[in-house]
């Protein structure tokens, strides 16, 4: 579980995050949504420890990150898996080497053990025959699946995904969403996804945090986001005709 309390982050005079408090629960897919410029990426980078923040706290299973020693911080980071928006695969390594990388860095496994583990996770993300390919030879969807495999290979307690569906077709997006949800459930990981894809919200948003102008405007689940009266949320969610119809359907069901 990750607990965020009163988080503030500024860049010079620009106050980006304005007192965000929320909780991301274990075994659930938690989504951070909001328009571009709402502070989603900055929030995610604060959660990852890539940005320092001025006020507030972030606690990983009760351990407040900013109060930990460097060694303790390193231990927490070793428990984090991250799927970057552009996959961020190391382009000088094969797909298999990319997946084995966290194991090489943080474990004392024998090469055969690492190989077995890499085989297992690549099979888990349905990439049985791509081991020796270079990332540049893989499609966008394949690269995302490799990034997920790399993120989960060291059995992380926390999984972060920055816009995992960006640049993917709707069908591949759904495959990636389902994969993330299955993995979260299977390994009981605390998963936090940064997204503005409403399909993801509907499919896997067990907990949703909606950000607007650096504030937490709303939080809830994918079921009650379609029933909320919060104007900022409804403006964001029902910007497309499709979701207007979905809302209508939900409201009719309730009546």
């Amino acid at each position: 579980m990750i607990e965020v309390k009163d988080l503030h982050k500024s860049f010079g005079d620009a106050h980006i995050l304005k007192g965000i408090s929320t909780t991301f629960e274990k075994g659930k897919t938690n989504l951070i949504i909001g328009q571009s410029g709402s502070g989603k990426t900055v929030f995610l980078k604060c959660l990852l420890g890539l940005f320092n923040y001025e006020e507030g706290s972030i606690a990983y299973d009760g351990k407040i990150f900013s109060k930990l020693s460097e060694d303790e911080k390193r231990n927490i980071r070793a428990e984090i898996g991250m799927v970057f928006q552009g996959s961020a695969l190391f382009d000088s390594m094969t797909i298999e080497e990319n997946v084995m990388f966290p194991l090489r860095m943080f474990t004392k496994m024998a090469k055969s053990e690492m190989q077995d583990r890499a085989d297992f996770v690549l099979k888990r993300v349905n990439l049985d025959d791509a081991h020796k390919k270079m990332p540049s030879e893989a499609s966008g969807g394949m690269q995302k699946r490799v990034a997920i495999a790399r993120a989960i290979v060291n059995k992380p307690k926390y999984l972060f995904c920055d816009e995992p569906n960006s640049g993917l077709d709707p069908k591949t997006s759904m495959v990636i969403d389902n994969l993330i949800q299955e993995i979260t459930d299977e390994y009981q990981i605390t998963t936090v996804i940064n997204s503005h894809d409403m399909n993801s919200v509907m499919e896997i948003g067990e907990k949703i945090v909606f950000l607007k102008n650096g504030y937490k405007e709303w939080e809830g689940s994918n079921e009650n986001i379609f029933k909320t009266d919060n104007k900022a949320v409804t403006n964001f969610v029902y910007s497309s005709e499709l979701f207007k119809k979905v809302r209508k359907m939900y409201l009719e069901e309730d009546q």
Partner: protein, 245 residues
């Protein structure tokens, strides 16, 4: 002010490079890969340029000293001095600032743009140690490449001298043995060692701290080449003054 900030950031980067070292088994692989990319991969161009510039120095010297009072062995002497003291250590390093330097800046810069450096940081890896340290260690072998350059430069001079008919082989060999001071070779290697550190770290600095996209990677490579060359030229002056002055 920006220059001062950059100088400060550069030295902080050097200090950070030694913190949280990467696992030795991984580091060994990185160092070997960088030796292959930066040293072995540069031997061809160093050999080619050294051989032909050695030849040109010989021809130029021979054509400019046609006075019968000047001994013929001076051609070999001048070629040796030019190559050992300046051409091999300094001018080869300027050429390497273009070849190795732009490779380092663009590869690290591309990793920055494509979030690969963020991926390393998220995993708790000291990305500066992972990326810059092995390049610095690999370039410690740079003096060996320069030694090959010195040998081939003098050999190129000999070939030009003999086959071009500018002097006799005997005169050339006498020239390269005349007043030979071993400290001059030591001086050249001291300079090369310092330039190797500059060649590894200045381009890494510009690649690591770049912001933006593909266009900025290109700009960073150009800036890195300019500043690496400037630093090499300035240090060349200071080292020459300190060691030979």
């Amino acid at each position: 002010m920006t220059y001062l900030q950059n100088i400060g950031a550069y030295f902080l980067m050097i200090a950070e490079m030694f913190r949280k070292p990467t696992k030795w088994s991984v580091m060994r692989t990185l160092i070997l890969k960088d030796i292959d990319d930066l040293i072995i991969g540069s031997l061809g161009i160093i050999a080619f340029i050294s051989f032909f510039v050695g030849g040109v120095i010989t021809i130029q010297t021979a054509l400019n000293i046609d006075n019968p009072l000047i001994p013929g062995y001076l051609v070999g002497f001048a070629t040796r001095q030019s190559i050992i003291l300046e051409f091999a250590p300094t001018f080869t390093s300027i050429i390497m600032a273009g070849k190795v330097g732009s490779f380092i800046t663009s590869s690290i810069g591309t990793m920055r743009v494509t979030e690969q450096i963020d991926a390393l940081e998220v995993m708790g890896i000291n990305s500066l140690n992972y990326l810059v340290f092995p390049k610095t260690i690999a370039l410690m072998l740079y003096p060996f490449a320069i030694a090959i350059g010195m040998f081939l430069g003098i050999l190129g001079g000999m070939a030009a001298c003999v086959f071009g008919g500018y002097s006799t082989l005997q005169d050339y060999i006498t020239g390269i043995q005349t007043d030979f001071e071993t400290f001059h070779v030591a001086y050249a290697f001291i300079k090369t060692f310092v330039f190797a550190i500059i060649l590894a770290t200045v381009p890494s600095f510009y690649g690591y701290y770049m912001k933006g996209g593909a266009l900025e990677v290109g700009k960073a490579s150009t800036t890195a080449f300019v500043w690496t060359s400037v630093v090499i030229i300035l240090l060349n002056y200071l080292l020459t003054d300190m060691l030979l002055g």
